[in-house]
């Protein structure tokens, strides 16, 4: 039964309610990093990690600190601090492990902090009512993971298309952001096909 729920969460966060193409979150880095496939992959993995960990820590803090002390209204500030710290951690780790990737990601790595999708998934975990559910923490972590995977999927698809757009004959005024947005719109339309999908 729980496996069913987890599977539903994964399918819905990756395809049906894709965070970029359906919920329209995480746009800033999406537009900034999707120019090349390699940096897109690196960014995607970093985001998956941050989202999963963020879901874990924010859930625990909400359940065991904010609720018992009746300070749920401080959720925004607590969550963003957790996320900022996690991103700092990921930055240090990537700098040590792969300086090349660190250079490639550049400014966009610390920008994961302001990625609406990360704070978004943390808040959505709470709004989905996981707090009172049996496997709440597990569901939240899986939702965070799924959201990250969905984001990465959209990112990779966009990067692949953008690399080809570079050499395509795009009218002068459409070059750059306009054609990117229209492409994203077409992708979002394609993903609309997933909505209303019956899973079980």
């Amino acid at each position: 039964m729980e496996i069913k729920i987890l599977f539903t969460i994964l399918i819905s966060t990756i395809f049906i309610n894709n965070y970029v193409l359906s919920r329209i979150l995480g746009l800033c880095p999406y537009l900034g990093v999707s120019k090349k496939l390699d940096s897109a992959i690196g960014m995607g993995l970093a985001v998956i990690f941050v989202m999963t960990m963020a879901s874990f820590f924010t859930f625990i803090i909400y359940k065991f600190v904010l609720i018992p002390f009746h300070i749920e209204y401080l959720r925004t500030i607590a969550f963003i601090i957790v996320i900022a710290s996690l991103v700092q951690l990921v930055e240090m780790v990537i700098e040590k492990i792969s300086p090349a990737l660190y250079q490639a990601l550049g400014i966009f790595l610390p920008l994961i902090t302001t990625n609406c999708a990360v704070l978004g998934v943390a808040v959505l975990n709470i709004e989905s009512g996981f707090i009172t559910q049996e496997f709440g923490l597990l569901n939240s972590v899986v939702q965070g993971f799924g959201a990250g995977v969905g984001f990465t999927l959209a990112l990779l698809l966009m990067a692949g298309i953008r690399e080809r757009l570079e050499i395509a004959m795009v009218p002068e005024n459409l070059k750059g952001l306009p054609i990117t947005f229209i492409t994203a719109g077409l992708m979002a339309m394609a993903f609309l096909g997933f909505s209303g999908m019956k899973i079980f």
């Binding site: 800033c28 306009p178 947005f181 719109g185």
Partner: protein
């Protein structure tokens, strides 16, 4: 000190969404109706104003290497103030804007202006900058929202426009958001290149 320029640049020259390319997240998701767009602008401008004022006021005593956490704390505090105020006095708006109210804290515009402008300029300039940016943000949002609401729901401010006509629901959904913004950016580019063309032929 050209006060008018400081204020106005946020509307056209340095329009946060159309020129600087920041603050896109709430833009696309919140422009499903004109009234949502207006309320979001009010909320965001309030936070932007507050954070710009405070950041500018303490800019001389803030040590550089801890400035980002401090900025985020200030911004997040203002966002919570907005959250609580809306929840108490405008519950319908609170429900309509949903998760995008807490997401104001990660709106690149606010952190971006704090980092780039408020931390290096006087309080008065920062106030003008915030108001100008807010206005530019609001106008863009309003234009997008009007287009989407009219085409996608056949309504404006919640009131039906042409009775009996079935609207293009796609405009209200995610793809419509992307298309509208893409076409708006295209329009901006066309205007800019026409202007450049005229300048060259003068």
């Amino acid at each position: 000190m050209d006060y008018f320029k400081e204020f106005f640049k946020g509307v056209w020259q340095k329009n946060p969404i159309l020129v600087l390319g920041i603050g896109m997240c709430p833009t696309l998701a919140v422009t499903t109706s004109a009234s949502n767009a207006i309320w979001m602008t009010i909320a965001t401008t309030f936070v932007l104003l507050g954070s710009n004022i405070l950041v500018s006021a303490i800019r001389t005593i803030v040590p550089s290497h801890v400035r980002i956490p401090i900025f985020i704390t200030i911004i997040a505090s203002f966002v919570i103030i907005v959250e609580l105020t809306l929840k108490a006095f405008q519950p319908d708006v609170y429900k309509a804007l949903g998760i995008f109210i807490p997401l104001i804290v990660v709106n690149c515009i606010i952190l971006g202006r704090a980092e780039e402008f408020a931390s290096k300029n006087s309080v008065l300039s920062s106030i003008l900058d915030a108001l100008g940016m807010g206005l530019g943000f609001g106008l863009t949002l309003f234009i997008l929202a009007t287009i989407r609401e009219v085409l996608g729901a056949n309504k404006l401010f919640g009131y039906v426009l042409i009775p009996g006509m079935k609207p293009a629901i796609l405009m209200i959904l995610a793809p419509g958001a992307f298309f509208t913004l893409g076409l708006l950016l295209w329009a901006m580019n066309v205007i800019k290149s026409r202007k450049a063309l005229f300048k060259r032929t003068e």
